[in-house]
């Protein structure tokens, strides 16, 4: 099981001090968070992609490339890559380049974005959101898997004899997750290709998340990629921890009450009851995270959101220390003990490369002797 953190890259005033970091400081903070994630033994750092203030992460591969140069084991991912408004040709090129530079430590999560005007800013129509995700991703897959592509679709200028460079590292395209909160079409898409499905459940009740994940699992099996419980599932989580539960609640409450997404709405208590948000001791986070498995089955990737709503970098780095020292080691052990042998781990570049070589070897063996 992989554990990591994902950032939405918001620049938000710290409600306890009234100070707001600069964009430059926030960008450096995200890098510091990623490096710390590796240092404390987490597996994944994922950055969001946004094209409007108060977010700074408009250029994920630049940031991830910079982090790749300073890390050795961390998997660099996205949360999410806008498959709707980015040119799939540019995604193919950018992430293949990143894959080479990072030695294969790259995967992506496709998403449609949550800011309406991004569509017109990039020449698209939000009403085509699903259709864009479907067509663009179908092209992206071909660009990574076929050396020369002839292609014509609805949303992009046609390609004739096009080769996307660089070719994926070892001819193994990056693993892809599809993220969606409420569109069954995207769960269906992930299942069809046998890709991963990530539900960013942090703002949603478990009943809702379960509906999406069950659909993905059922259709994964339907499309012949394995049994439903072998589908590749990722989940979000949102935590704030202190040694004593009451200290965590006291310190986090002003950030919660003023947070951009849910601030001035439900109480911290209501929200922790209805969503995966856990504010408390490391033990409480361990117990809560283990319930995800009970709700949604054995899963492969757990990403925590820990750096939003104006929390200072120092606090976020302390959260990473707690995650790395007290929470994740226990979760690794518990999840591993509970996971049946036939449930796979999340694919990595190494595992995909081995699988591809094995498939190739089988093909050679099965070729009739002439």
């Amino acid at each position: 099981m992989q554990f990591g953190v994902f950032s939405v890259s918001d620049v938000t005033e710290d409600p306890t001090t009234g100070t707001t970091v600069s964009e430059g400081e926030r960008i450096k903070a995200m890098v510091a968070i990623a490096l710390k994630a590796e240092e404390v033994g987490l597996d994944v750092f994922a950055t969001g992609e946004h094209h409007n203030p108060p977010f700074v992460a408009s250029s994920p591969t630049t940031m991830l490339g910079f982090i790749a140069a300073q890390t050795k084991n961390l998997i660099l991912s996205t949360s999410t890559t806008l498959i709707t408004t980015n040119d799939p040709v540019k995604i193919a090129e950018d992430y293949a380049m990143l894959q080479h530079l990072a030695g294969g430590r790259v995967d992506l999560m496709m998403g449609r974005g949550n800011t309406g005007p991004v569509y017109p800013w990039f020449g698209q129509d939000i009403r085509n959101g699903i259709a864009l995700a479907v067509e663009n991703y179908a092209l992206l897959r071909r660009l990574w898997r076929e050396d020369v592509v002839d292609w014509e679709g609805k949303f992009r200028t046609p390609l004739q004899g096009f080769t996307s460079t660089p070719r994926p590292l070892d001819d193994v395209p990056p693993f892809v997750w599809h993220g969606s909160i409420r569109s069954p079409e995207i769960a269906e898409q992930a299942a069809y290709y046998g890709d991963g499905f990530f539900h960013n459940n942090i703002f949603w009740p478990a009943s809702h998340t379960k509906q999406m994940i069950d659909l993905y699992r059922r259709r994964f099996e339907h499309y012949g990629h394995g049994a439903a419980d072998q589908a590749i599932v990722g989940l979000g989580g949102q935590v704030f921890m202190r040694k004593n539960s009451q200290d965590a609640v006291r310190e986090f409450r002003p950030y919660f009450d003023n947070a951009p997404v849910y601030g001035h709405g439900p109480s911290l208590e209501d929200f922790t009851r209805e969503t995966p948000l856990t504010v408390g001791s490391p033990q409480e986070v361990i117990e809560r995270t283990l319930t995800f498995r009970e709700h949604f089955g054995d899963y492969q990737r757990q990403l925590f959101l820990i750096d939003h709503a104006g929390l200072p970098l120092k606090t976020v780095l302390e959260q990473l220390d707690i995650l790395g020292e007290e929470v994740v080691p226990v979760l690794r052990k518990e999840f591993a003990a509970l996971k049946p042998a036939h449930v796979p781990d999340a694919p990595t570049h190494a595992s995909l490369k081995t699988a591809a070589e094995r498939a190739q070897a089988l093909e050679t063996i099965e070729e009739p002797v002439r």
Binding site: I130, W204, P205, D270, F271
Partner: protein
């Protein structure tokens, strides 16, 4: 649980006081619908929703994007009912903001094909067209089926004008019941029956 032949009528009323004249009108409309169904030998059950009781949950739903477990139950009651009776007080020449919030958190297809009896209350008769200028377009947008007669009750309708209110209630109730011989169209569940990906790819 409703028996197969039992009709469920959901009543959504957005008065602010307890009791409110909106609730008073809603109860009379619900009773008239119940009586009309009874005379036709149809059993029915009324589920009354006071929007005021869910005001905080509605605000939270708008801010967070999802309903609390309690509110979700209420929304399901409305979306699965055979017909709706809705009553709003008239505020600033329209339905109240609280009333609108209830319908804002529903999916825009959730009421498609649903018969609706429109009701409104106000201080004077001068606002009675709120039914046709505000409520009717709202439910037309939601693709619900508002019956032709709406019922507006002003303060005087609870006293000297009561006799003129009564026939309108009966008329509206009869119109709502007349739509109920149709079976509710069952909507396909996109989680039970997702669009196969080949269809998405080729559309």
């Amino acid at each position: 649980m409703s028996t197969p032949s039992e009709r469920v009528i959901a009543v959504v009323t957005a008065g602010l006081t307890t009791p409110s004249s909106s609730r008073l009108l809603a109860d009379q409309l619900a009773a008239a619908v119940h009586d009309e169904l009874s005379t036709r030998g149809v059993a029915s059950r009324t589920e009354v929703i006071e929007v005021r009781d869910h005001a905080h949950d509605l605000t939270n739903n708008l801010l967070t994007g999802f309903p609390s477990a309690n509110l979700e139950k209420v929304l399901t009651t409305v979306t699965t009912a055979d017909a709706l009776i809705v009553v709003s007080p008239t505020f600033s020449a329209s339905y109240s903001g609280l009333f609108k919030m209830f319908f804002d958190v529903l999916d825009d297809q959730a009421l498609a094909g649903k018969p609706v009896l429109l009701g409104a209350t106000g201080g004077t008769e001068r606002h009675s067209l709120v039914l046709d200028y505000a409520l009717r377009p709202l439910f037309a947008y939601l693709k619900a089926i508002p019956v032709p007669t709406g019922v507006y009750a002003a303060s005087t309708d609870w006293g000297p004008n009561a006799a003129t209110l009564r026939p309108r209630i009966t008329q509206a109730a009869a119109e709502l019941v007349a739509t109920l011989h149709h079976d509710n169209p069952t909507k396909p569940d996109p989680f039970e029956n997702p669009t196969p990906f080949e269809n998405l790819l080729n559309s």
